[in-house]
Symmetry: none
Subunit: 121 residues, 4 copies
DNA sequence: GTGGTCTAGACCACG
DNA sequence: GTGGTCTAGACCACC
């Protein structure tokens, strides 16, 4: 379910956060579904439990999951959170698009990219 | 000419690299034009010369400038470098677009972004 | 494993880079093997950690190693990188051979050199 | 007669030295022929006279030219110097060949290089 | 004056 | 403990 890429420059906890976020936004993980326990996932990925803890903390702070003491972490089905998240991602995308534009990239080139991404299915 | 943003998470040297890269790609800095000296820019931005040195080193490695000992750093007019750079940026953009798509963002929403960026003039 | 030559004109970080590159190209260091930590090597060679850092950075940029924050630096098993590197070295060698030729050195003399190098076992 | 390459990493004075050395070893400049005056060459290349002075000094120290106060600099026809110089160059070449060999370059690949250089005529 | 390298020592983020 | 960034200050080679 989770795959780590150590050659990726992003910290591991961030990779985990992003992976779960994607799974939740896509509905692969449904509302109130239980996430793997911190310890179990740590063993599975052979990394430090602290790292999982941090990822789960991040997800909780952003409203994607909620934790119940002694029971585990569960997916949060809040639609508002999802909308906010998409907004955030689009803003970041726009920011980078602006940088591209300033670097002299044409609208057509960017459209070409978009088509390739959405045509890939 | 260069403005630093200390609230930005990216390292200072990277901000400087990106700023000069943009200026060069846009033709604001022309081929063989001299860049500010390491020390002078360090004083102007009130940061350490080593940081400027590192930024200039990065720019040189990427083919944007060339340095002449005892003379200074100069803009490199290599068109091939520019094409490579654009390619690199588009690849990164596509990567991020893919992430967005996986998070359930629709093609239309992304197009809307693009229009806003390129309509801003 | 690493020996520095202070009488060598080349900068220290470059000597370190070349040494590790050789060890990797020769297979002495295998893929995913851990390199000494920045600090540990700095102490061992009694030089500044920054210098090691720079050497490791250079190796990473050239695709010989990859670094994982909080874990260390590891050998990269990319064969393509190795081929590129050999190409680069041969080009440099040819450049110098050309200079020699222009200085009036005969083909035979150069062949003699080659034999001595490869006969040394 | 002399062409400078500012994108070359070597210092300018060294480029000049090498150029004259080549011209002398090749016999383009004959024994007792006069070199351009320091000032004249400095103006022609639009660089600092000190730089020319340094290059000429280097050439004199290595026995390629001799200077006569108030008259100029002249080519030295000493064959022994030439032989020594070639020896020096071959040693350096061998040094680099050794590095190549350690990096896993095969004898055949190096021979291929040599042939290309000497076949180029 | 210029760029290039190095040291010493500090702080941060990550695991 | 790990790597990554930055500062302060020094020394060298080159022009």
């Amino acid at each position: 379910m989770i795959v780590l890429d150590y050659s990726d420059k992003r910290p591991i906890y961030e990779q985990i956060v992003e992976r779960f976020r994607t799974l939740i936004l896509n509905g692969v993980l449904e509302a109130d579904e239980k996430l793997p326990s911190v310890r179990a996932l740590a063993i599975e990925l052979s990394i430090n439990p602290n790292t999982i803890q941090r990822a789960y903390g991040e997800l909780e702070r952003n409203g994607f999951i909620y934790s119940v003491k002694g029971r585990g972490n569960f997916v949060c089905g809040n639609q508002e959170t999802f909308a906010q998240e998409k907004e955030k991602m689009l803003n970041e995308l726009m920011q980078y698009m602006k940088t591209c534009k300033e670097a002299g990239i044409a609208l057509e080139e960017m459209e070409e990219c978009m088509k390739r991404v959405y045509g890939e299915v």
